[in-house]
Amino acid sequence: MHELSIVSGLFDILEEKAREHRAKKIVSVTIKVGKLSGAVPDLLVSAFDTYKEGTLAAEARLEIISLPVKTKCGHCGREFEPEHHLFVCPGCASQDLKILEGMDLFVEKIEFEV
């Protein structure tokens, strides 16, 4: 359960952006969560709801967009989503793959009242 640490990182960004834009209130926050980021969306929402008390985001909603895992084959260039954690190119069977997306967590969008 490290979602509280993740949410604490999220609030560092929210507070910085709210200051920059002189926001009075944060209405909603959209984040993108990679399927292999190790974070559980339901737990992120619980952690967010705990953390937001007494902040500018006290009434904010957390929207989560799940990001699938996207890989690119270094041999034939094919881009695909590995199934069942099988990191093998379905085109040429190469294992020389680069993970393009799906490992990280991003803040996508913040909605403020100013």
């Binding site: 359960m1 490290h2 640490s5 993740i6 990182g9 999220l10 560092d12 960004i13 952006k17 834009h21 926001a23 009075k24 209405v27 984040i31 292999l36 980021s37 190790g38 974070a39 069942h84 954690h85 099988l86 990191f87 093998v88 294992q95 020389d96 793959l97 490992m103 990280d104 967590l105 991003f106 803040v107 996508e108 969008k109 913040i110 909605e111 403020f112 009242e113 100013v114």
Partner: protein, 223 residues
Amino acid sequence: MEKKELIVRENILGSNKKVAAEIRAELAGRGVLCVNLMSSPGAGKTSLLERISEKLAAGHPMAVIEGDVETERDAERIRAKGIPAWQIVTGGECHLEARMIGRLFGKLPDKLEFLFIENIGNLICPASFDLGEHLRCVLLSTPEGDDKVKKYPEAFLTSDCLLITKSDLLPYLSFDPESVKKEALELNPKLRIFVLSALRGQGLDDFIAFLIERRAELASVHA
């Protein structure tokens, strides 16, 4: 009241990643190879470090940072081997973060070749936090069972090495090391896999030779 929408696209763990990158660069500049050991509790991280210290430390100065939820026990075990060791007690937190490592930087001895970080015993959360290591090793002990790789994919996907530990117990268990190797390489073909026993010493020399080689590569790049 006016509403405003801001597109951000910033990595939420960006501040941890930034600190980790600074640690990695600083240690590389000093010729210190930093190794992050991750596993479930009881897979044998501390025992492995004890054995490594016996074989490595005489010619290659090393230090250890221990992470645990409670107690100084692990750091005491390492200090008993004559190795500088610091304990981070997280008091409940399930993983280490880069800032916790950064705070100990001032204490590191000048003459150092290896810094080992023993992460909190947990096969899930530590995988998400870069500590500034050059080499991430995940341990899987044979009594844990051979089905763990795909159950806890992130730890294996983000590691450079897989250490199958407690190999001395293989004759008594249904653990199939070949099936673990196959599943691990399907997930992460770049994994270097070592099968070892801290108790009996099997496989240890190969792993230590690999560490020394990696350290030499790091030092030559930053010489």
